[in-house]
């Protein structure tokens, strides 16, 4: 085959009809990854991918492990954000401090995908330790948006978003701590989904902010996202923060449509400073589509939305400051020797971490320090509880919330690197969802200035099925998810 499939479902069907082999599909994905001009890749795991593909072909030939027919994801090429640990395959978190680090074990999500026969093509670029909204903070160079080479892809999972948008993989995994899946999905015009906190195991995922991090997929379609989630969802005894809920059945409501659903439109999400008119228009149009499809739109108020950013920028750096303390040069990763222990720490960490990571560790250390802890960390946790409670109240009256994913389309490379606050504001619609631990998905809803805009659907905790239902209904009613950057069309 020469054309890259447009969805997991399509590729799975082609593989089942034996029109192509998993190895051929893997070779195609490898070739496309090698031809990537967006710096989306940190590592292409060619041998690893070929070995996986060959064993899947055995499986299709009836010589698989324990017989049976291979699952939907068997033979599907995918790309992995380089903050998710892969046994035997280098995992850097986009940082010099982990350059060359090869984990001795895989993350649970990777184990689960391996077991289904999905073929991992390689590791994708990201903001260092997932700290950023543009993938410009990678120690290994910024990622370019395939829609326009002078624009960012969003972040921090920029490489994963680009891998799917540019047709280099059929799905990718990212991590979302404050919007790091949904925002780049929106800016690259693909589907990106962040699950309810506690539904996907964090075991083996390099920790950024433990109470906020969650792994999720980038895909071409809503159905594909649900397919991936069905594999990666579900309790793992190695992550003590998980809920005991099965992950199957996520596709059961995909075709139900939105007729009769009440969709909340939070007014605060449309009155944010810096919201682009083109983005607002695309999202308003999308709301109109949902209404025509039979949903009832209800204006709701999430009055604490403004405080989300402040809460997030206390809790997230606080947790990160502790999570990143282990990179001390003693056991793995970069080590720059000094004349004594303290100097070895200083040199190793001074050289190993980039400026944004250092900024957040300083912020977090400050917020946790004696004399400031109550005023910052404790207060932030209190407000976090209030934000959760506000969402709980809203979900008593609506089935899901529909909002813009990001206030802007992809901005220019370099435009915000020296203005952290402007950069942080790009996540104003996504990070409250992490604070409240809710599931959220971004689906393409048209273009503004020739660049993609995302519609965010947020559901109550563990209600991914209704979230997929709304997103799928919108996707069916519009062609926006089919739009692809011109470079790829050829």
């Amino acid at each position: 085959m020469s054309a890259f499939p447009r969805s997991i479902r399509e590729a799975a069907a082609v593989l089942r009809r034996r029109e192509t082999s998993a190895l051929e599909l893997a070779e195609l994905a490898i070739a496309r990854a090698r031809a990537d001009e967006h710096n989306a890749r940190l590592h292409i795991a060619e041998d690893h991918a070929r070995a996986q593909a060959r064993s899947v072909d055995e499986w299709f030939a009836g010589r698989g492990p324990g017989g049976g027919s291979p699952p939907t994801l068997a033979g599907i090429p995918w790309a992995c954000k380089d903050i998710i640990g892969t046994k035997g395959v280098v995992t850097t978190a986009g940082s010099r401090i982990l350059e060359g680090y090869v984990p001795p074990y895989s993350a649970t999500v990777v184990e689960r995908l391996d077991a289904t026969g999905a073929v991992m093509i390689g590791k994708t670029n990201l903001d260092e330790f997932a700290m950023g909204s543009s993938t410009e903070n990678s120690a290994f160079g910024a990622v370019k948006n395939p829609w326009r080479a002078d624009r960012v892809p969003g972040g921090s999972s920029g490489g994963s978003a680009v891998a799917v948008a540019a047709g280099e993989a059929l799905f990718a995994l990212g991590t979302d701590t404050g919007g790091s899946i949904r925002q780049p999905a929106a800016l690259c015009g693909v589907v990106g989904m962040k699950p309810t906190y506690g539904r996907v195991p964090r075991w083996g995922v390099v920790a950024f902010a433990s109470s906020l991090d969650q792994v999720g997929p980038f895909t071409n379609t809503v159905e594909d996202a649900a397919i991936v989630c069905e594999t990666i969802f579900g309790k793992d005894e190695r992550d003590a923060t998980m809920v005991d809920l099965p992950g199957d059945q996520l596709r059961r409501e995909l075709d139900k449509g939105v007729k009769g659903l009440r969709l909340g439109v939070p007014k605060e999400y449309f009155s944010v400073k810096g919201m682009e008119r083109g983005v607002e228009k695309a999202v308003r149009d999308a709301l109109g589509v949902l209404e025509r499809e039979g949903a009832t739109l209800v204006e709701v108020s999430l009055s604490l939305t403004d405080h989300g950013l402040a809460v997030y920028y206390i809790i997230q750096p606080a947790e990160a400051s502790a999570n990143l303390a282990r990179y001390d040069g003693v056991r793995y990763g970069l080590r720059v020797d000094g004349p004594d222990l303290l100097e070895t720490y200083r040199r190793t960490r001074g050289k190993g971490f980039g400026p944004e990571v250092k900024r957040r560790m300083i912020l977090g250390t400050y917020a946790l320090s004696a004399g400031y802890y109550d005023a910052y960390y404790v207060k932030a946790q209190k407000v976090r509880t209030l934000i959760k409670a506000e969402y709980d109240r809203v979900f008593e009256t609506v089935d899901a919330l529909v909002t813009p994913t990001s206030p802007t389309v992809a901005f220019a490379l370099g435009a915000k690197v020296n203005d952290p606050l402007a950069m942080y504001l790009n996540d104003v619609f996504t990070l409250p969802v992490n604070i409240a631990g809710l599931p959220g998905i971004s689906v393409p809803c048209g273009l503004s200035e020739g660049l993609p805009v995302g519609l965010q659907v947020i559901a109550n905790s563990y209600q991914e099925s209704s979230m997929f239902r709304v997103a799928a209904a919108y996707e069916r009613a519009t062609p926006h998810h089919l739009a692809r950057p011109e470079q790829v069309a050829a």
Partner: protein, 488 residues
């Protein structure tokens, strides 16, 4: 020894819990003696992406320890991160408990009747160990993570002890309790129990009470170190005060270490260098809420504590305080005793005497613990029965015990094969008595002259002639009878 000051001592005891696996991973917890870095995994090495999963057994043991120390178990507790950088701490933070420990407000009653209050007991993970070396003039440090993540219980007392003896008694009794409750073996020689001693001095000067700030002596791992370090530091504080030293102006506590070789403390951290550990709730774990049912079932499962058992031994078996304390120090020893008493309920005291005397002496000489005794409690009871019924003499009984100790043999069988049954045929004893009397005319004369003690010197030779298999009381009686008879 009297001092011109009063001692005020509080102790933080770190105890390794007797779990099979570590606190937050499945690695083996018995690290002592294992080759370096062989009991490790991503969790206890702090690899990227590893997450902690709490060890249920460790939590139960920690609650049990609290209950044995009369603590309350709060309904809501949690784990926190204690942040500091050191090479033996793989994550750069230690998972511990800060403001909501598993156990609070308990006490431990010393033998003297004094109660030492227990402020709190919290669960945490141990660190790795460092080994310093030198190679071709270059100093290096190696890290062993086998101990990393081993469950530790930190038990914090109030500053209720006022002498070094009391401090030592407290830690010894604490150890007895934790061993009895099967919470920890607390093998000090394996580093499974460490003490931080907070010591300060209080005295009167110019009619007012002066109580300068304390010193915290870190990481003492033996009773001897505890005694010596506390004595040294208290004396040092007093000398410093009298010499107008830094103690006169110091506001906060200092932290010192103990050098057993130089037998002195040394400054580790001054008041100004106090660390900010930036505690915050561990986001990788959910809060810990021990159910009341769990707590009550752990309470119901608590064995009798050594102090209670000792009191029962005194009242029920008529033992001396001294003997009872020796027996209850080790649960297995006390169990052995009670099993023997169950087999011979009529003679609890002689059984205790045999155990605290001959048996314990041999155990100590050969460094054998109760599980290493080759014979059963029933056999000890059988031996005591032989003695008490007059069938064997005390001297024979000692020989039988030696045989039992070495071979684990049954006392009745040993008596038969060795012919140690006591001679009760008085005519045979009388013949021996007559022979001895004939050889000792002076002793006989002395006895007749009103010195009854002279007779005692003759008992030994008679026993010797009879091979020890006679009752000394019978010999004594016959000696008196034969002398009297020879007069008439």
């Amino acid at each position: 020894m009297t001092t011109p000051y009063e001692l005020v001592i509080g102790i933080e005891t770190h105890v390794e819990l007797a779990t099979a696996s570590k606190m937050f991973c499945g690695c083996k917890a018995r690290w002592f003696g294992a080759p370096p870095n062989t009991l490790v995994c991503p969790v206890c090495l702090g690899l990227p992406g590893a997450l902690p999963v709490p060890n249920r057994k460790a939590i139960e043991l920690a609650i049990t320890a609290g209950l044995a120390l009369h603590c309350e178990t709060p309904e809501h507790t949690k784990f926190d991160r204690k942040n500091y950088l050191y090479p033996d701490l793989p994550k750069g933070y230690q998972i511990s408990q800060y403001d909501l420990p598993l156990s609070v407000n308990g006490w431990l009653e010393l033998a003297s009747g004094k109660r030492v209050r227990i402020r709190r007991a919290h669960l945490e993970e141990d660190t790795g160990t460092l080994k310093h070396g030198e190679d071709a003039g270059r100093r290096y440090t190696l890290v062993d993570f086998n101990r990393s993540g081993v469950p530790l219980l930190e038990i914090v007392s109030e500053p209720d002890m006022s002498s070094i003896e009391e401090a030592e008694t407290y830690v010894r009794e604490l150890r007895d309790i934790l061993r009895a409750a099967h919470v920890s073996e607390m093998r000090l020689e394996e580093g499974a129990g460490r003490f931080d001693v907070n010591v300060s001095i209080r005295f009167s000067e110019d009619g007012t009470t002066v109580w300068p700030p304390q010193s915290e002596i870190k990481n003492l791992n033996s009773y001897q170190a505890l005694r010596e370090a506390t004595a040294f530091e208290a004396a040092r504080l007093w000398d410093d005060w009298r010499a107008g030293g830094e103690l006169r102006t110091r506001k906060g506590k200092i932290t010192v270490g103990w050098s057993p070789d130089r037998r002195r403390t040394y400054l580790q951290r001054s008041k100004e260098e106090v660390e900010d550990y930036r505690y915050f709730p561990e986001p990788d774990l959910v809060s810990l809420e021990p159910s009341r049912e769990t707590v009550e079932s752990l309470r119901a499962g608590l064995p009798e504590m050594p102090s209670e058992r000792k009191a029962r031994f005194v009242s029920k078996y008529g033992l001396s305080e001294y003997d009872a304390r020796i027996l209850v120090t080790e649960t297995a020893l006390a169990d052995f005793y009670e099993a023997a008493v169950a087999a011979l309920p009529a003679h609890p005291k002689p059984i205790a005497n045999w155990m605290t005397g001959e048996l314990l002496r041999r155990m100590r000489e050969e460094n054998v613990d109760p599980s290493g005794i080759r014979f059963a409690p029933d056999a000890l009871a059988a031996l005591v029965r032989l003695v008490e019924s007059g069938k064997v003499s005390g001297a024979s009984a000692k020989a039988i015990l030696v045989e039992m100790w070495q071979t684990g043999g049954d006392p009745e069988a040993i008596v038969n094969t060795k012919g140690l049954l006591q001679v009760s045929d008085e005519s045979a004893i009388a013949a021996a008595v007559d022979a001895v009397l004939a050889e000792n005319p002076k002793a006989v004369a002395d006895y007749r002259a009103g010195k009854p003690r002279a007779l005692g010197a003759l008992v030994g030779p008679v026993m010797k002639l009879m091979g020890g298999k006679v009752d000394p009381a019978v010999v004594n009686r016959l000696l008196a009878e034969r002398i009297a008879a020879s007069v008439s």
